[in-house]
């Protein structure tokens, strides 16, 4: 398994999670599966909507974009594309910052945590780490 394969797998998982939370937000799911945290409080708070769309929908869009990029990055044509690696690193870096802001809101403003959001935060962080490693590796190869 290459880094980009792992990234594609994580993106699929994140995309499904984003769709799940979006369906919940629009009332298609009913009750949210939430074991130990306060997903309901977080998902119904004013911060669960960003620029007119549920945060979950933005998340689904993020993961869908990452999935497209990683699958493209697995094609022979783009396998050594530093531009693509840079794009993924920038996108996931932005994702980490946005997720950090959401986690701050959960901890210090809403005073409630959502396990799905924490899971997504872990995935975004992992994607960022993998994309940094991927980019560094390509850069080093290019400098040889």
């Amino acid at each position: 398994m290459t880094k980009r394969m792992w990234m594609a797998l994580i993106s699929v998982a994140g995309l499904l999670l984003g769709i799940y939370l979006t369906l919940y937000k629009f009332g298609f799911i009913g009750t949210l599966a939430c074991g130990v945290t306060s997903c309901e409080t977080v998902q119904t708070s004013r911060w669960s909507v960003f620029l007119g769309l549920p945060v979950a929908t933005w998340g689904a869009g993020f993961y869908a974009t990452m999935l497209i990029l990683t699958i493209a990055g697995l094609q022979e044509r783009y396998v050594d594309s530093r531009g693509l690696a840079l794009a993924m690193m920038v996108l996931t870096g932005w994702g980490v910052l946005f997720t950090a802001w959401l986690n701050y809101l959960e901890g210090f403003v809403i005073h409630a945590w959502c396990e799905w959001c924490l899971g997504s935060a872990a995935m975004v962080l992992l994607l960022f780490v993998l994309s940094v490693l991927d980019f560094r590796e390509l850069r080093e190869v290019g400098e040889e």
Binding site: L16, Y24, T31, E76
Partner: protein, 266 residues
């Protein structure tokens, strides 16, 4: 320093293998991705289409339209009107109702500073919230709206979508604890959803005001979303009172149907 191990197939210099990835391995990987996606989508489709007990109530456009501007508490001569758009199953609304609202009533409504309006905004994501709104409206028919409103929020964890598939059973028990309520007529009202058109009128008001979260408060000219502790609530009221001339504070909603001081219901 040792060189970082490079994944096969990467590199641009001559001699570096351009792509040593085996197509077969890639194909297998894409099959795995596709299987995960298909299984995931199937699971999500099942979750979103399965019959959900207790979710039979929702907006029904075939019901007759009625006029209602919510439930008002306080003096028609109050200097300022505050409107809350709330959902009975929303945790932040419950928090406001149980922690803040008694102070609001005691110190701001009963003193004639503000008039308080509650408008239902039952969110689609809450499967039992329509039952609760209908139950509160049924209690209103007996002049017991605010008592029922408080009791519903206080017992939120007993009848909400996570607690039960039969919210009406619990809501009837909640109503039965309210002194002076006629449980027989309340139960008939709830079972036959007599007050659903009224709740729908409130829902449409909320949609017309483009309410995006619950609770949403209109305090004079200001809009606030989410829980408000009493101190913050009072500060906003004072800010509005300070900048509003006496008698010109009605901004939160249509107040043509104000109720006298302390009288519950519309």
């Amino acid at each position: 320093m040792a060189k970082r191990r490079v994944e096969p197939g990467r590199g641009r210099k001559p001699g570096v293998v351009k792509s040593a990835k085996k197509p077969a391995a890639n194909r297998a990987f894409f099959v795995i991705i596709a299987v995960i996606a298909i299984v995931g989508i199937a699971a999500l489709t099942y979750l979103s289409t399965r019959p959900k007990a207790g979710t039979t109530i929702g907006f029904d456009p075939s019901l007759p339209k009625v006029e209602s501007q919510g439930y008002v508490m306080g003096s028609p001569n109050a200097k300022l009107e505050v409107t809350e758009f709330g959902d009975y199953e929303c945790p932040q609304c419950g928090r406001f109702a149980t922690l803040t609202e008694s102070d609001v009533r005691q110190r701001l409504v009963n003193t004639g500073e503000i008039r308080y309006r509650y408008i239902d905004f039952p969110l689609d994501m809450h499967r039992n919230t329509w039952n609760a709104s209908i139950a509160a409206a049924c209690a209103d028919k007996q002049g017991k709206f605010w008592e029922m409103h408080d009791a519903i929020f206080a017992s939120q964890d007993q009848w909400d979508g996570e607690a039960t598939d039969n919210p009406n059973k619990v809501l009837k028990q909640v109503a039965a604890r309210i002194p002076g309520i006629n449980t027989d007529s309340f139960n008939v009202c709830l079972d036959t959803k007599q007050t659903q058109p009224k709740v729908q009128a409130h829902y449409q008001l909320s949609m017309a005001r483009k309410i995006a979260a619950t609770p949403t408060f209109f305090i004079g000219t200001q809009k606030f979303e989410g829980f408000l502790p009493y101190d913050e609530f009072k500060r906003h009221v004072e800010e509005e009172l300070a900048k509003t001339a006496p008698g010109a504070g009605n901004v939160g909603g249509d107040s043509t149907k104000s109720a006298p001081l302390k009288k519950p219901g519309t």
